[in-house]
Symmetry: C2
Subunit: 223 residues, 2 copies
């Protein structure tokens, strides 16, 4: 029987574009972070708050990945930051080829930092490199503290973990979420992962995330 | 160039198993529901409460799909219901072949209802028929009210939508979630979808979900 190794071929095409994107980012000395999480963990809210609160220090551009709609890109554009919407039309992750096109359409020379907001999915996007400098996984409190153990790949591969919606940890709200367990489980998978506990709604804990971003931008500029 | 239509072939292999599963369920007159949602929307908590509260009326078996761990199957087994764990080892959805094997290992003659708890993922599982009688999509309040519009496929294909964690809609908790918007958007995609607003934690609204399940079991038995 004639065998065609399709899985390998598709991955290589994606890898080729990812390598081109990586080269483009290195040449332009730009930091690019790939945000990955389940739907509704608060990626867009984190980004809009970050853009607004850092607008006097750094310029941020966003590549928005969604299966349908441009709702998230509209939210980003309302902050005056440049945003490119990619609709995957059913696909469960962004591809490096899509990012390649989007990067060419951003005003890259004006930007310090590019965020890619991936399709809401804790599984598939972790398997597709986009050429980014690092992945950032977002886990929100109502999703539960068992997620690093149950969905280990993305926690193992990310540079940072944002534990979002910590305003819901208020003792008057009876949500069971052991934040120390999440941190320990994430560090067992990835000893170097940076962890930030924050609420993009209340603003609590956002300052440390901003410091980390600014350090990352400086490091990329001086590399 | 020699062209191999791989996409078609893979789908057909899954469809073949799905058709076999469907035949098996019809022959045995068993209702089988495929539960699909993002990670952390509360599928396992809904199932454990449903099993416990209906245990004097119906016998439920569960096929648990997870990428890693048997944490969810342990929670089901603690209710004394039979549970089969499938670890997908990285795959983002259950396949009909996996369900075929699991069905053979459940004590089918003793059961009235089989739940398949799919891998936590609002995207990929919607594209793979398992031979089930129907899909049930779970959306929890903290995930946000824009999800039917952003992830339409699963809402379009499901027999029922469970809006879970409605205890968080308490006005003292400032979570923005327009439940009427969710219902309208879901019905625009799927005019026949049954919608149940409930909290598997507090028990609120579970009774109507139970009535629907029992009617479904009776209909399957008499078909």
């Amino acid at each position: 029987m004639y065998k065609v190794n399709i899985g390998r071929k598709i991955l290589s095409a994606n890898e080729e574009y990812a390598n081109e994107n990586k080269r483009f980012l290195i040449e332009n000395k730009k930091l690019c972070l790939n945000m990955i999480s389940s739907p509704g963990s608060g990626k867009t809210t984190i980004l809009t708050r970050t853009i607004k609160e850092l607008k006097d220090k750094i310029q941020i551009g966003v590549i928005e990945g969604d299966i349908q709609t441009d709702l998230d890109a509209q939210r980003i554009k309302a902050t005056k930051a440049p945003a490119i919407q990619i609709n995957t039309k059913g696909a469960c992750h962004l591809s490096a080829a899509q990012i390649h096109k989007a990067l060419a359409n951003l005003p890259i020379e004006k930007l310090d930092l590019i965020f890619i907001e991936n399709v809401g999915n804790l599984v598939c996007p972790s398997a597709f490199e986009l050429g980014e400098n690092g992945k950032v996984v977002v886990l929100s409190v109502p999703e539960g503290d068992d997620k690093p153990v149950k969905y280990p790949a993305i926690f193992a591969k990310s540079k940072a973990l944002l534990i979002n919606k910590i305003d819901l940890l208020n003792p008057s709200r009876d949500i069971d979420f052991d934040i120390e367990k999440v941190k320990n489980d994430a560090r067992k998978l990835n000893k170097d992962i940076q962890i930030f506990s924050l609420s993009a709604k209340s603003g609590e804990g956002m300052d440390k995330w901003y410091d980390w971003l600014i350090k990352g931008i400086e490091k990329t500029r001086n590399s």
